[in-house]
Amino acid sequence: MRYIPHTEADVRRMLDVIGVESVEALFEDVPRGLRLGRPLEVPAAASEHEVLRELGALAARNVHAESHAWFLGAGTYAHFVPSAIDALASRAEFYTSYTPYQPEISQGTLQTIFEWQTMICALTGLEVANASMYDGASATAEAALMAMRVTRRSKVVVAGLHPHYRDVVRTYLGGAGATIEHASYGPDGRTRDLASHVDDATACVVLQSPAFLGPVEDVRAAAEAAHARGAMLVVSVAEALSLGLLRAPGELGADVVCGEAQSFGIPMGFGGPHLGFLAAREKHLRQLPGRLCGETVDAHGKRGFVLTLSTREQHIRRERATSNICTNQGLMLLRATIFLALHGAHGLTALARQNVAKAAYLRSRVAATPGLSLPFSAPVFHELVVKLAPGDTAERALARALDAGIVGGLDLAPYAPELGPALLVCATEIATRESIDRLVSALGGAAS
């Protein structure tokens, strides 16, 4: 086996040094009766070329953003990934290293984390950010848990949340005895009557903006509603790119900002690995989950970076840790940091503006197409709900789009059946005008 260097002569010499007869003897502590005693029933080893052929065949049986024009978002977004990102993230020094426990030999990873933390603080308008969470959903759940620890309250009000995020929050909070209340959306698509859900038992409001169905929420009003009853405001951003254009939630009153940064140079990858982020105010630092990198000096006074404040973490604090997270999403953090470094102060905003323009064009085309309609008037970032003609179904509309070489959006039936036949459609910078036109005419095609 080409991954294992041992020759039979090596094995012999090593056994001699150890002083046993056979490799088998090394397993003497495994009671005979507990041994497997037969070969594993997995397929026989294949050569490298065979494995690649087999995987190539499996890969070919999925549509993807290079095979089709792409309008499906809903938390996972098709953006262009600059080539420099994969080139750099493919450096073995980055991808074959461990969590940087030994700082003197891990400064590459550590400096990257420090840069990421700085950029996430800048984007969220907050003061401390961690070194990543698994994904936007679990970051949101961890944010809610953090708010519960800070406030010592147990009710969580969620609004605008991606249904999968909602599920994950429910799963994570199950062990903590939380109650979860959902605020619903009003006629313009934005969360309504948020204040009516917040009471003195409320640990936090968790508001997703842009909301699952597209609308950009009123963060300032949500902060007022939460703070009025001593609750915290958690803003969950499932599309981190929106932070390139929208005012930093921290400036608008959010206490914690968390979310998903897949849009920053990470391929959609059938949903993972993505990149959860979480930022908060300095005063809540000791309650922050996840790893943190801090600046320090070496024995000669030279600047360097280390993992720090690990007394919050499981490997020191064990059952009293702020989270159980250990391995996180380091390499995705690297990708996102490179992405942000490439785009910078102006590029991120310019890119976000292109997304807004594409969605605005889509919206205008939908508005002008007989049969299609826009149920919500609230402003959006790059994603919006399109109602289909009465009598049409999302399935049929998507099939028409597919015939035109387009993956046309998300069938909202399982998520928002109250809307009738409707799609959640996302237009990013990779959508060309021509493909938007084709999409809209395919979706409106039931009318003809």
């Binding site: 996972t76 840790a321 102060a345």
Partner: protein
Amino acid sequence: MSARDPRANVAAVGNAATHVAYEEPLLFERSRPGRIGYSLPALDVPAADPAALLGADALRAACDGLPELSEVDVVRHFTRISTWNYAVDLGLYPLGSCTMKYNPKLNEVAARLPGFAQSHPLQPTALSQGLLQLLHELERHLAEISGMDAVSLQPAAGAQGELAGVMMIRAYHESRGEKRRKVLVPDSAHGTNPASAALNGYEIVSVPSGDDGLLHPDAVAAAMSPEVACLMLTNPSTLGLFETHIAEIAKIVHAGGGLVYGDGANLNALLGIARPGDLGIDVMHFNLHKTFSTPHGGGGPGAGPVGVKGILEPFLPAPVVRRATTPEGERYFLDDERPLSIGRLHGNLGNVGMLVRAYAYVRSLGPDGLRRCAEMAVLNANYLLARLRGAYAVPYDRRVMHECVLSDAKLADAHVTTMDVAKRLIDYGYHPPTIYFPLIVPGALMIEPTESESLEGLDRFVEALLAIAREAEEDPSIVRGAPHATRLSRLDETRAARKPVLRYAPAAAEAERSRPTPRGASR
């Protein structure tokens, strides 16, 4: 070179040298207004005025605080800082419990195929049959390898797998109307075990290891009660020992109505030899980034699938991948109708890119290769132990599995600590082992070579450790002052924690650097 030259022994071992390296500031310090590292297509739709659409108050003008850099700057920045990292591709990376085995390049190619990397988790399942089939087959392979009945690939890392596992245990007890409040955790356990149980609202009861380092049935029996939801154990343990009493222990827990959670971090030692499911374990996680060769990425992403026995299957995270035989052939779909499920743990189906890599690995190794991993990993660990036994203390000296745990007890007279040995190893061209874990071994040096290391590679590593032991006697200050060969000398971790600086602030950075720093402030 003089005897005091910290490079003397290092050169003799022949593994390390020093070479020119490149300083590199922070991205923010490299930034210059107006520099550009991106390109956008010309806008082919009417320009929208975000202020008009979204309200000026909702917007920012630019992302102040982000740097401005050219592509050249960015490429050089990350290339330069990458060279400050150690990596598996550079050599032995003996972090115990972390299984830093070789990460095959084939897996990296496979995961980047556009049909995997560019596909969307919510595209209709009819359009993702290849991926769903892969996931389904990987589940089956993991079930066979572990002796479990069903597997969910959702958890993003081992700790999330633990969380899922303990949640299923909780759901199981609740489904039977039982409210158990406690979880037993051996004192040698990894920190994620108690942390995951605590996240589930459980109270942790620590179970002491025996004098031989093993978990003993009487200790478990003593801690067992109707309040106990489960025992979380790690086998081989974090001491690298096979828990020989596992069958009896499982019997005790089961008899008390509890379940047994298996931390699968050390599964590498058992591949094809024994299966957790056959040892009495009811639920376990896998660390695909350990046992199944997916890269650690400097701290993730990993993947932590969770496997269960039949009794827990109804509680698996939703959705699950299912196969159906239809008139058109095999079809794969996602089943979300799981009333007893603990729910979702991940926004999508998990860290799929890592699952693709693990699948490629299983296909590359086959049954013989998998078993060979376990055999050679165990051979390597025992060989290291045999060669190091004389120079370093061995707190629990018996046959080990995939790793061995030494300590600094013999170096105490020289006032040389495990930390010093670890740092000195860097000068010899190695990443240090895991240190000060497990907590039950004071000054632990936990060494896991994995099967990827060759005999002569191990020999060189042994020579380095033996040289350090000699240095500790003859010239301990060289060891205590290590590392000497790195761009930065030993970093002051205490200072970092006392006065946290967690992001770059231009003024602060200036002040910080001009402030005189006490030499030797670090431990």
